[in-house]
């Protein structure tokens, strides 16, 4: 098993053993017996794969392609749907990125707003705690008592100003 740290560098080393960037992994493989064995085995597999050679193109390839191209040139130009299909299928899609980003932002806004509407009530009914309610009652009582005291105070001068009955 190749040490995990050097796994990705092994392929680089196989492809270009003399590259200066591969010096560290080369040094490690030379010092680590397990990695050295794994690397040699990988190297042998890599060399074995070279056995599979593809045959040379047939001499008729150009001729057949030229005929098909001439037929293609004689055909009517592709419709907009076909052009759009090929663009979507084979292009990198980079030109659609701004539109995609805009659409995603819109989805987030609409989706986020809808979720917020469901989870946060539009008119929150805040309920006061028992202590606050008690204090409010006491406050109201106090106000009522003060009002009554004031009424009593107001009535006293009138009595004093009244002429004696006898």
């Amino acid at each position: 098993m190749i040490c995990k740290k050097y796994q990705s560098a092994v392929l680089d080393l196989l492809l270009d053993p003399a590259a200066p960037s591969n010096a560290a992994v080369r040094a490690h493989i030379d010092s680590c017996e397990e990695c050295s064995r794994e690397f040699k085995s990988m190297e042998a597999t890599f060399a074995l794969l070279d056995v599979w050679q593809a045959p040379e193109p047939s001499p008729y390839f150009d001729q057949k392609l030229a005929v098909r191209l001439r037929e293609e040139q004689a055909l009517a130009p592709a419709g907009w749907f076909e052009r759009l299909k090929s663009r979507l299928q084979f292009n990198t899609g980079r030109q659609f990125r701004p539109a995609m980003a805009g659409a995603l932002a819109l989805i987030l806004l609409v989706g986020g707003g809808t979720v917020a509407d469901f989870t946060i009530p539009s008119h929150p009914n805040t309920e006061a705690s028992a202590t606050v309610q008690d204090l409010q009652i006491l406050d109201k009582n106090d106000q009522a008592l003060q009002t009554m005291d004031q009424l009593q105070d107001d009535s006293q001068p009138d009595d004093a100003a009244a002429p004696p009955s006898s």
Partner: protein
Amino acid sequence: MDDMATLAINPRLLENLQAAETHHAAGDFGQMDDAAIMMELRTGNMAGFDFLIQKYRKPIIHFMYRMVRNQAVAEELAQEVFLRIYRSRETYRAEARFSTWLYRIATNLGVNYARDTKHERSASTIYLDEADSETGTTPDVADSTPGAESNLLRQERLNAIRQHVLDLPERQRMAVLMHKYEGMDYKQIGDVLKLSESATKSLLFRAYQTLREKLKGFI
């Protein structure tokens, strides 16, 4: 000589070449970027397209051959790749390397073909008296001539390589074909397969590890 043969086959090529001279001298294409040549094709310069075909036909045929393992089918699919390039000349945008786009089309065609013919391939029959459509050779049978055994061994090894590469998961198979046989770098393979560079590296490492395990009997 090859050029003369091409002209004999396709006399209209001369007209295209004459048209191309108004844009570029024929030798100029060697110095031009592939994407720039594609832009020339958009303006109707077929000589540039012929240059691209000559440049990429062999790698694409080889790539297709390793995917479908039949030369006739590989060449037909390679022609289809170039036809699709021609059809898409109007929509081509030079935002990625031309070869990335080319291999993406080739990959799609190869994968679709492999999926469509999966059952046919698994039920294929070997006829001992007929030449193999993939290699053009007849199957090896018991033979007393010297070297027959080593030939058999070589054939067995080749079959094992082809079979185990073919048995890899689709993306790993494509990555190995592009990396090992087409000499493409991680970034380019990642662009074709729509993967990051590090994901491509890890995909390739897994693929080679699998191949090493499967082929250790032949090393």
